[in-house]
């Protein structure tokens, strides 16, 4: 073997790891190498990543309709900062891994979008939030995982959903206002929902001096009456019932089967947002007080803000909608809140928009003046979740009828 060969081989051995490291760093795509976002004069780009197909497709379509309505309203008014808003939708099938891949591919091919609707579930949002931080992209989702309420770790992510603590605080205030409630029985599925609701409700009720007992049931159980029987035996003055999904009808059946319909019952948000009036009888809804979010209970046209009227008008024939307009409103609000922040900042620069979102001019204003339709008080430097007050919920019996998809409250 010649010296030239040995030298060449030695050189190759030295250079190879350096070349490999260089390739690796390039492939990682540091922020400084990421294509820039849209510039002045070009349309503002909105990217929606959500489960267009799969189990959440109905909700995804509802949110998309809300987004389309908001974008149409903005563009008809001349756009945002004079720039048209364009929407691209990518189907992640509600898979967080796919969501991340889709966002990375989009950024590599098209540059950074100006806004990302970051999925519909906490899992998707948790997967996308670090990318939003790395690439400095403003993103929003209607998800309630408290892990996402971390402005330091996720400075560019904002949620339009409420936290469980806000819901239970509203329920506790309602119960305290009744004047004679000493003991509440929590009837709930024995799963992650219980892990989220129980501590929040315990804290809220402790603040009002109300005792709490917990009576759980298997989410796959066919007969759930035993949980209500337990709550009765424990001496509950009121029951707080909570479940999500297909177990909700069986919860109502179980309540009546246990003879617990005489105990006033608050229905948690998971029940309240389900179409429970479609599969319950009047007997099953007796003494039942769901916690109703904005736009799940009926607002007469004369009491609606201009933004709400615009939103409803753009949804078309409401009788064709399979879910309440509350779901569509999340899509509308994400776009309107972001657009409002861009206008306020005078630029689509993510840092400036983030600062504007944390100090929105119309946050806390009268609902009549707000371009969004759900929550009144929005974000701050300390929290990127809405700052919801108890009076923004309606806790009331319902008639079972709907108007414009919204539940009609029973008059006291």
């Amino acid at each position: 073997m010649s010296i030239r060969t040995i030298t060449s081989r030695r050189t190759a051995m030295l250079l190879a790891p350096i070349a490999a490291a260089t390739l690796l760093l390039t492939a990682c795509g540091s922020p400084s190498t990421t294509p820039e976002s849209s510039s002045e004069g070009e349309p503002l780009e909105v990217l929606i990543i959500s489960g267009e197909t799969g189990a959440l497709s109905v909700n995804s379509e509802a949110m998309r309709l809300g987004v389309d309505a908001a974008v149409a309203s903005l563009n008809e008014a001349g756009g945002v900062l004079g720039r048209e808003v364009e929407v691209t939708t990518l189907d992640d099938q509600s898979d967080p891994t796919r969501a991340v891949t889709l966002l990375q591919e989009y950024v590599a091919d098209n540059g950074k979008p100006d806004f990302v609707a970051a999925g519909q579930t906490s899992n998707e949002a948790l997967a996308l939030a670090p990318l939003l931080t790395r690439d400095q992209i403003i993103g929003m989702a209607s998800v309630s995982s408290p892990a996402l309420d971390d402005p330091e770790q996720y400075p560019y992510f904002f949620s339009t959903a409420v936290k469980q603590a806000d819901v239970t605080a509203a329920a506790a205030k309602f119960l305290a206002d009744q004047g004679d409630v000493e003991h509440v029985g929590l009837v709930i599925t024995n799963d992650a929902l219980r892990d989220a609701v129980e501590p929040a409700l315990q804290t809220a009720l402790d603040a009002e001096g109300i005792e709490l007992s917990v009576h759980s049931f298997d989410p796959e159980a066919i007969d759930v009456s035993s949980a209500f029987t337990e709550a009765q035996a424990a001496g509950a003055d009121w029951i707080y019932a909570e479940a999500i999904g297909t177990v909700v009808p069986r919860l109502f059946e179980g309540r009546v089967k246990a003879g617990a319909e005489n105990i006033p019952t608050i229905g948690g948000s998971g029940i309240a947002v389900s179409p429970f009036t479609d599969f319950t009888t009047e007997q099953q809804r007796e003494n039942f007080y769901p916690i109703l979010y904005p736009l799940t209970h009926y607002i007469a046209p004369e009491d609606r803000s201009d933004a709400l009227n615009d939103f409803i008008a753009r949804l078309g024939d409401l009788s064709e909608l399979p879910v309440t307009i509350n779901t569509h409103a999340y899509g509308w609000d994400q776009i309107m809140i972001w657009a409002n922040a861009v206008e306020q900042a005078g630029t689509a620069d993510p840092d400036a928009v983030r600062d504007a979102l944390q100090d929105l001019e119309f946050s806390g204003a009268d609902a009549a003046d707000q371009p969004w339709v759900l929550w009144r008080n929005l974000f701050s430097e300390d929290s990127h979740f809405p700052q919801v007050t108890a009076d923004e919920f309606a806790i009331s019996q319902v008639t079972g009828e709907r108007e414009d998809t919204m539940l009609v409250l029973k008059e006291d």
Binding site: E220, A221, S225, T246, P249, E253, V256, G259, F279
Partner: protein, 288 residues
Amino acid sequence: MLVTLISGLAIGAIYSLVAVGYNLTWLTSKAVNFAYAAFIVTGMFLTAWMANLGIPFLLIFVILIAIGAIVAFVEYLTAILPLRDRGDHAELVTTVGVTTVLQGLIFFLSPDDVLRVPFFGPEGLIDLPGGGRIAPAEIVIVVVAIIVALGAHFWSTKTRSGLAALAQSEDRDAALILGVRPGRIAAVMFVLSGSLGFVLAPFIGPITFAIVAIAITLSIKGFVVLAIGGIGSQLGALIAGLALGVVEAVVVTVASASYQNLVVYFIFIATLLLRPQGIFGARKERAV
């Protein structure tokens, strides 16, 4: 406690009916039809849709029998017949595939995840002495389970056709020699079990609601009952199912919902370890 007992029997009756359905196809073609629970759930959605259209229940039952027969026959042709005589129980996989297809079909056709299935009998609840209420549908399903299980047991052990069906599944060649047509018997039993699955829907649906996801729950619990009662034993399916339902209800009432599935699967594993052929199953010697 009376309401716990009756509710437990009702749930157990549903498990028993699924296990009886498994046994019907096992006894005649040595294939466990894991799509049987999906047949019941599909029947629930059909019942709800037809009832909402104002179709009389008598006609609903007739339509369910017909649709059940067709669906089961298609399943037999596509998921069972091609795998016959291979001896590797691949139909365990293909029938799960049929379940997936049926579930997908319901998702596609139904805008609702949950439907109330009206009961063809008296609605409302019956107050029990000592407190608690039961639905008339809960009493009816227990009676139906007893009739169906006893009827299936009688057919398979006392009637000519039932004995012929058993014979052809035990030894096809011997059955052929004796003039029994094994293929036809297996196909007919699949069709009849399919019709049975669909026609049970109006009895079960008012208790469970029509929910796509419940097919998996019923499939699994039905299989647990099958194993505990003894595969091939209709009486075993009935007794094990009713007992399991009562055990579940008592555990939830006396202890906690957290222990419900724990106790059930403990009993399941204990049975497999101590008496693998099931309580009423026959132990088979393995031929050397």
